[in-house]
Subunit: 143 residues, 2 copies
DNA sequence: TTTGATGCAAATGTTTTGCATTGCA
DNA sequence: TGCAATGCAAAACATTTGCATCAAA
């Protein structure tokens, strides 16, 4: 929920930009949004926020664990709502469509690789980049 | 080999900056270098090249398949010599040290994940981020 | 009221590009 | 010589920061 209380529990004032941004992630059919995307949507809906605020809020939300940040090949950071369950990403190189997946075996093997080398995993990112120039692409023709 | 012939076979003139950059990757004990790193090394060794040229050459080498580009969490792109064998990366969040690994099972499962969803893999990146605040870190105390 | 949050503009860091000059082939 | 490659400076992006103003508590 994007209630003011929720923000307060993580030590942040329930300001308009913060509420709107959280709401936006909760309602958007596209789970993965870049700062620019968020900014544009705020402008569209008339919430007059600055891009700097969007960046600051996204960073705070990530630190608070509300959002998760990813870096795909595009170069820009994208955020998605943190819904607890870890997953990796499959990204369309043509249209940017993102699908999530989880494979227990892959997770297990990563643990093993790190352990064998004497490291403890802090985090990981696995991105499978695919082509969507085929009928099955879920967002064919959509830039 | 970093011979002029090698460059010509990929359709590039054997210019000084190109030869030096290729040589640099072949001789460097640190396999993963960012554009800035390459530029600094060139300046150090007296080869007076511009940063723009370094970026152009790195891009060309990547397109020619001589180098492979990666984006770790640092935000900047790093390149490494393409020695044919695919591998993934384990990156120290503290010191930036990079280790390479290959796990056939992980590769296999990725294929499976993509196939199940009707995609053909174009590429993938798997980065395991670890902490090196422990005696076993191979580059402990090295920023 | 008081402190934290915002908006704007300027700064930063990385990468790209325009254009005149240089240098392989 | 001729066209590709270079160097420099400026532009283009994504992101961060300084600071005066504003608003939630």
């Amino acid at each position: 929920m994007s209630s003011p209380e929720h923000l307060k529990t993580i030590g942040l004032k329930a300001t308009l930009p913060r509420l709107r941004i959280l709401e936006l992630f909760e309602k958007s059919p596209v789970r993965h949004l870049a700062a620019e995307d968020v900014y544009k949507k705020l402008v569209e809906e008339g919430t007059d926020s600055g891009l700097a605020t969007v960046y600051r809020v996204l960073t705070q939300f990530e630190q608070a664990g509300l959002l998760v940040r990813h870096h795909f090949e595009s170069g820009k950071a994208v955020y998605e709502l943190n819904q607890g369950s870890h997953h990796d990403h499959l990204v369309c190189l043509q249209c940017g469509h993102v699908e999530e997946f989880y494979d227990a075996e892959i997770e297990k093997r990563q643990e093993k690789v790190a352990e064998e080398r004497g490291f403890r995993i802090n985090d990981h990112s696995l991105h499978i980049y695919v082509d969507c120039t085929k009928p099955a692409c879920p967002r064919k023709g959509n830039p």
